[in-house]
């Protein structure tokens, strides 16, 4: 079949069906997903899974970026009723982006960070709130946004 003459103008625009164009005023491009009340037993352990959604069109550096100057993704927890142990990040994507000579380690779209907590034996039964902070830095291949910190608030129900 003969190649059709597309007579393509200089610039085409992608529709929004596959992915959205960057907003005119990029702001907070990372959202925290809902977390149902976590149950925990005094003297035991529990797991908190934090869902994260990065707006289409952006990525965040992973927890282990390939260059030292990049701001890594960090999830930290305040001292409180539960004691945080391991914070487990998913396996990052490796992407070759125009601004970097070597592939960069990033997260995009939706992903989860899982934290193991230890519940003190003497923890009284009842509801508590676990507080944390998610520090991230988002870019696309044309610009970077201000590094941001989001507050993380998780309801936990401790039983005997």
């Amino acid at each position: 079949m003969k190649a059709s003459n597309l007579n393509i103008p200089l610039l085409l625009v992608f529709s929004a069906t596959a992915f959205c164009q960057a907003p005119a005023s990029p702001g907070i491009v990372v959202k925290l997903g809902p977390v149902n009340t976590v149950t925990a037993k005094a003297g035991g352990t529990t797991k908190i899974t934090l869902p994260i959604l990065v707006d289409q069109g952006f990525h965040v550096n992973s927890d282990k970026p390939t260059d030292k100057y990049l701001i890594p993704l960090r999830l930290t927890w305040n001292a409180g009723a539960l004691e945080s142990k391991d914070v487990v990040f998913p396996k990052p994507e490796t992407a070759k982006l125009p601004f970097s000579e070597k592939p960069v380690s990033i997260f995009s779209g939706s992903f989860e960070i899982v934290t193991q907590f230890k519940v003190p034996r003497e923890a009284p039964p009842g509801p508590v709130t676990v507080l944390g902070k998610l520090r991230y830095q988002a870019c696309n291949d044309h610009e970077c946004l201000i590094p941001r910190t989001l507050d993380v608030i998780i309801p936990v129900e401790i039983s005997k």
Binding site: M1, K2, A3, S4, N5, L6, N7, I8, P9, L10, L11, L12, V13, F14, S15, A16, T17, A18, F19, C20, Q21, A22, A24, S25, P26, G27, Q56, G57, F58, H59, D67, Y69, L70, I71, T94, A95, K96, L97, P98, F99, S100, K102, P103, V104, I106, S108, Q137, C139, N140, D141, H142, E143, C144, L145, I146, P147
Partner: protein
């Protein structure tokens, strides 16, 4: 998306906001164009199928990894009410274009430098909002070094307004490494932390990208802006940026110097 066709061959470049672009080349195969490149890390593949309605069906990765995309000609996209692509030349502006652009920050040695400094008087100045944590800023710095070499003797000055993370404010280790790595010859000022951006550059409107470039004329006023930076790997978009930057600089260099307003004092 830019597509250039020559007979059965095409070259296409996509400025994808999710960060996978570069120039792909290919040709007509059967009933579609297939364009590809290999950048050393992974292959890129696009299948572009012309539709009856004049749109293009675009599949990236060869496996519909990113879903099917539809490319519209600009006039069709506007008629459909689709949002315009980001306009990097108008995204950021200044509150009053008749106002002299002012700044006063310490350099890496701690010496305070302001827009009133003799080195900037009567010069065309590029003021760059930047930070060492910003990969796009690294790309721009390399380009700015080239511009400085080419135009400094003709009256161009460049001043970096650098915003660093709190733990970098004291030692400036990364800043000094950045300056050394790119052999930055232009003025480099430490403006504060990223969160200070809006307080430290209050004259800018919708300033929220790194980098951001402000083109300042000989009269000290902002004449043009550019949000972000299309890296060399973005192919045609980098070329467009180069054309825009050099056009702005040469236009401003050719303008006669106007008296400076006393409004800044």
């Amino acid at each position: 998306m830019i597509v250039q066709q020559r007979g059965a061959d095409i070259t296409t470049t996509i400025l994808r906001v999710d960060g996978d672009t570069g120039a792909l080349t290919g040709s007509w195969q059967g009933n579609k164009f297939v364009a590809s490149h290999f950048d050393g890390a992974r292959p890129g593949l696009l299948e572009i199928t012309p539709q009856q309605d004049g749109t293009l069906k675009v599949i990236s990765g060869g496996s519909n990894r990113d879903g099917e995309m539809i490319a519209y000609r600009p006039e069709v996209a506007r008629a459909k009410g689709l949002p315009e692509p980001a306009n990097y030349q108008t995204h950021t502006s200044v509150r009053d274009p008749n106002e002299v652009f002012t700044y006063s920050f310490p350099d890496t040695k701690g010496k305070l430098v302001s827009n009133e400094d003799p080195r900037f008087k009567g010069k065309v100045v590029l003021a760059i909002v930047t930070g060492t944590w910003c990969p796009n800023c690294h790309d721009e710095a390399q380009y700015l070094v080239e511009l400085y070499k080419k135009y400094h003797d003709k009256g161009l000055e460049i001043v970096a307004l650098d915003f660093e993370e709190p733990d970098q404010q004291v030692s400036l280790k990364r800043v000094n490494a950045f300056i050394k790595q790119y052999k930055v010859p232009y003025t480099y000022l430490i403006a504060g932390e990223p969160a200070d951006m809006w307080d430290k550059v209050p004259q800018a409107v919708n300033l929220n990208t790194w980098p951001a470039t402000l083109f300042i004329g000989k009269d000290g006023r902002v004449k043009a802006t550019h949000a972000g930076f299309a890296a060399p790997g973005s192919g045609e978009f980098y070329k467009q940026l180069q054309d825009e930057f050099t056009s702005n600089i040469e236009r401003l260099l050719n303008e006669s110097e106007a008296p400076t307003s006393v409004a800044s004092r």
